[in-house]
């Protein structure tokens, strides 16, 4: 049926006869698909922009830090501060729901005095005591050299991995930082790796000015003894981040004599929960886009259905003649359906192409600025495929009522003289 030359001859004859009418109607469908694609692309851009800030963080991870207690417990008054230590790390690692437990320590950072020096150049950077597993929780792209490894931890090596901003401030443009030394709070560290910023927003800026050194070296060099600043934890894949978080908090409360109902003392931030919220928000936006888009498209499809009804009406006699000459109802239905489908498909394809073209243009226009709210507003192939199937379904819907009308035409019509 699809490759039948006679069917196509008839379709082109009808379209040619009513160029203006057909074009105007096709505009409706093209516009519908165009809007759908543009909106989906914009929704994608917003999602990419927002989600970019979380780039590379394992979605089942959470952070734990300390805050002053708010409840008296076991003879200890409220408002007490406490500090995590290495024994907490071992206790957390024993929990079956924990996959990776990364204790963290940090020096310097925001609004602190210069802490890193190289020759005459100085800068204030976030110096972090880190474990090698950290990159399994928060992805870091290594551009040059390597990240920390277990040997660094065991031997308490004085080496460091630096972010791009650190390189920019401390090194000349054509200088290779690998193997060079920088001084952190008076202690020399050798640069062994360079990272790249892989997420947007404030988090990306922080990444840019990070200096990672082995956790054990950090504790020894900067007199932290066995202190731990905070934890970054990744839950096992078979448990939810929320559940793992509850278990970890319970253990830490027990160890630091904190009232079990004290909700403040252990500060926590759960990626899984935040991620879920945002995902829900964007799914909602996407649903809205589809509802509005399909509504617009439906208006176009009804337009096509309408002109197909007119086509059937105009060709009543012709269809009657064909029926008299031996056309079966199936012949008649397929002809009308094919015509409706063809018009819808051409219009839809034009809309799709125009939409993608505009999105690409927009993409080039806004570029790839770090931390933008709106990134990469394009539709992927699966969305294009969805839009295409919407077009085809739309075409079939458009052809359905006219085709039924056409079949109802009796062959007697052929004998009726006007």
């Amino acid at each position: 049926m699809i490759v039948d030359r006679d069917n196509w001859q008839e379709i082109f004859a009808t379209i040619k006869k009513n160029k203006l009418r057909t074009t105007l109607t096709m505009l409706g469908v093209a516009w519908g698909i165009f809007m759908l694609v543009i909106m989906l692309g914009a929704g994608n851009g917003l999602r990419n922009g927002i989600m970019g800030a979380f780039g590379g963080i394992a979605t089942n991870s959470f952070f734990l830090w300390t805050q002053p207690t708010t409840k008296p417990y076991k003879g200890l008054k409220s408002g007490r501060t406490f500090i995590y230590d290495n024994a907490d790390v071992e206790a957390l690692k024993k929990l079956p729901s924990m996959d990776i437990v990364c204790p963290q320590n940090q020096l310097g950072g925001f609004r602190q005095s210069n802490n890193v020096v190289r020759g005459l150049k100085t800068g204030t950077f976030n110096v972090m005591g880190q474990y090698p597993e950290f990159i399994l929780v928060m992805k870091k792209d290594i551009v040059k050299g390597r990240f920390l490894n277990q040997k660094d931890i065991d031997d308490k090596r004085k080496i460091c991995v630096i972010g791009p901003r650190v390189q920019e401030v401390l090194f000349k443009k054509d200088e290779n930082p690998m193997g060079q030394y920088i001084r952190i709070n008076g202690v020399y560290f050798m640069v062994v790796g360079l990272t790249r910023v892989s997420r947007g927003g404030q988090e990306g800026q922080e990444d840019a000015q990070a200096v990672y050194i082995p956790f054990t070296t950090f504790q020894k060099a900067f007199n932290f003894t066995n202190k731990v600043g905070w934890f970054v934890v990744k839950a096992k894949d078979n448990v939810t981040a929320e559940q793992a978080e509850q278990e970890a908090i319970a253990v830490l409360k027990e160890r630091h004599k904190i009232a079990p109902d004290d909700k403040v003392a252990i500060g926590h931030w759960n990626m899984g929960v935040e991620f879920g919220k945002l995902n829900g928000l964007f799914s909602g936006i996407e649903l809205l886009i589809w509802v509005v888009g399909i509504g617009t498209l439906l208006a176009g499809v009804i337009g096509i259905s309408n002109i197909m009804l007119i086509v059937v009406k105009e060709r009543t006699k012709e269809i009657g003649v064909k029926r008299a000459l031996g056309a079966t109802p199936a012949n008649v239905v397929s002809q009308i359906l094919l015509e409706a489908l063809f018009i819808t498909a051409i219009a839809g394809y034009a809309g799709l192409a125009a939409g993608i073209y505009c999105l690409e243009g927009l993409n080039i226009l806004i570029g790839h600025e770090d931390g933008a709210m709106f990134t990469n507003p394009t539709v992927d192939i699966s969305i294009a495929a969805k839009a295409l199937s919407v077009i085809i379904v739309g075409g079939l819907i458009a052809g359905f009522i006219p085709a039924r009308r056409a079949v109802a035409i009796h062959p007697v019509e052929a004998l009726r003289t006007e």
């Binding site: 012709e318 031996g326 009796h410």
Partner: protein, 235 residues
């Protein structure tokens, strides 16, 4: 070839019933050239619809080539029409976007004959009606007589047993009418049964037999004359 036993058909308009065919009995033998005559409202169009399997009838029996034609599905009816019957219409009914050859080939399209094959056959049939040189012209470029000849070629190409012609000369002048009737006679001479509906006496006289319809019944010529006389006498 065609046998009608007490065919009845009524149209329902709202709640009232309007009987159009009130019991038609007729027999048309193979190879006959028959004309159906009657004034408008006599039921001749309805009878042609029933004969051409374009419409159903309410009661009675219609045998075409020995098989009973009754309560067929649309698809079955389409296949029967395509296989056994040919049609020639008053207003030609050629498809405007197809040229003469493609119009002639149309019935074969529904028999799923390949395009090449059916166009070849169509050219042969166009040759038979003397229009081979016009094969690639659109209907709008043909005269009335030429259009009707194309339509006749189209009716012939399916090798039908019976050809029905509904006022085939109604839209033609007398010279072309005669040409068309000559063509019909030639076709009839090849053994194809022909049924022509007309209200022109000149045309019906050229056929072997005239079936006269009046108010849904077949009447003989004498009966009709008597009825007419009575009407005149009553005045």
């Amino acid at each position: 070839m065609i046998k009608l036993n007490n065919i009845q058909k009524a149209y329902h308009i709202g709640k009232s019933e309007f009987k159009v065919l009130k019991g038609i009995n007729a027999h048309i033998k193979e190879g006959e050239f028959v004309s159906i005559m009657g004034s408008s409202g006599s039921g001749k169009s309805t009878l042609l619809n029933v004969l051409g399997i374009l419409d159903n009838y309410d009661s009675g029996e219609y045998y075409l080539n020995g098989t009973l034609v009754k309560n067929l599905s649309q698809t079955q009816a389409a296949h029967l029409r395509n296989k056994f019957l040919g049609f020639v219409f008053q207003s030609f009914n050629l498809l405007s976007f197809k040229n003469a050859m493609e119009n002639v080939a149309l019935p074969l399209y529904y028999q799923k004959v390949s395009r090449k094959e059916r166009n070849k056959l169509a050219l042969e049939y166009l040759d038979k009606v003397g229009l081979k040189d016009w094969a690639h012209h659109l209907p709008s470029e043909l005269s009335g007589g030429q259009k009707q000849r194309v339509a006749i070629a189209r009716a012939l190409i399916g090798k039908p047993k019976v050809i029905f012609a509904d006022e085939p000369t109604g839209a033609l002048d007398s010279t072309t009418s005669l040409e068309v009737m000559d063509l019909f006679k030639g076709i009839n001479a090849q053994g194809i049964t022909l049924v022509v509906v007309t209200h022109e006496n000149d045309i019906s006289k050229m056929t072997d037999r005239i079936i006269r319809l009046k108010d849904g019944l077949i009447v003989t010529e004498e009966q009709e004359t008597t009825i007419i006389n009575q009407v005149i006498l009553n005045k």
